[in-house]
């Protein structure tokens, strides 16, 4: 195993997914790519959505990158190969990025990405169903 794409959703639950992926990476000699899809959610505070579309995107992207860098800094130096964030529907972005970046494995939490996912875990199930590679689904508390 060479590369694990870790799907992060910006919630505190991400820590459990990163810990599981990091452990597996250490044992198998793989490196991590921390990935976060960004999108608009009705739960976002209004002040985040002020300004032009470009400004909003830049602000969300900046916040997501800062979050990923912070998570990467909490891991052993060199374990994280890169951090990636992009505007995408979570499941689609994750599957596409895993293919583009040639990840051997996708690690994802069972719940996340807001809204209906808290009930059904739809993003994880969709990724497991549609990704053209292996997927580790880590149970994350609601």
């Amino acid at each position: 195993m060479k590369r694990i794409l870790v799907a992060i959703d910006g919630s505190p639950r991400a820590a459990g997914v990163i810990a599981a992926a990091a452990q597996l990476a250490e044992l198998s000699g793989a490196r991590l790519v921390l990935y976060r899809a960004i999108g608009l959610s009705p739960e976002m505070p209004m002040e985040l959505l002020a300004g032009t579309a470009a400004e909003v995107e830049e602000r969300l992207r900046g916040a997501a990158l800062a979050e990923l860098e912070r998570l990467a800094a909490g891991l052993r130096a060199g374990l994280v190969e890169r951090v990636v964030t992009e505007l995408a529907t979570a499941w689609d972005g994750i599957c596409t990025a895993a293919r583009t970046l040639d990840a051997d494995l996708i690690a994802i939490g069972s719940h996340g990405y807001g809204g209906i996912d808290r009930v059904l875990g739809t993003t994880a199930a969709k990724v497991a169903n549609r990704a053209d590679r292996n997927v580790l689904i880590v149970r994350t508390p609601l």
Partner: protein, 147 residues
């Protein structure tokens, strides 16, 4: 997630589940874990009258014995290295039976194959893997089948 020590691999004797087993064996060596196999004999979903049930029970017994033998043969081919442990055959709903087996052996990881269906069949067939992903209390690693 603590380092998995007991890995459960559901086996339906398809090439996909055997690919998942190969992956699980590799992982077990890296994690110093044991691998356990479960095969589930699905109960035919018919509202059969008593005579039908008796017939079904006989068939199920026969299938269970045959599947146990097949599972043991598969296990024997992977015994080298001492990682392969229990082989279980269960009757029932695949999702419930797999999760029950996981609990029974204290599995802390389920490794299972997915069929990699495309298009309509995938949309219609909501796989066992997907149901396990949605409801398993332990981590699940899906192995994408290669044709």
């Amino acid at each position: 997630m603590n380092t998995p020590k007991r890995i459960l691999v559901p086996i339906d004797f398809s090439p996909f589940s055997e690919q998942a087993l190969d992956y699980a064996m590799t992982l077990a060596h890296q994690l110093e874990a044991t691998v356990h196999l479960v095969n589930v004999v699905g109960i035919p979903a018919t509202g059969a009258p008593e005579i039908g049930l008796a017939f079904t029970a006989t068939v199920l017994d026969k299938v269970t014995v045959e599947n146990q033998a097949a599972l043991d043969r598969l296990a024997a081919a992977h015994r080298d290295g001492g990682r392969l442990d229990k082989t279980l055959v269960r009757i029932g709903d695949p999702r419930d039976a797999i999760l029950q087996a996981a609990e029974e052996i204290g599995a802390d990881l389920i490794v299972m194959g997915t069929h990699g269906r495309r298009g309509l069949s995938r949309a219609l067939l909501g796989s066992v893997a997907e149901m396990i992903v949605r409801t398993s209390p332990v981590p699940v690693l899906t192995v994408r089948g290669k044709k």
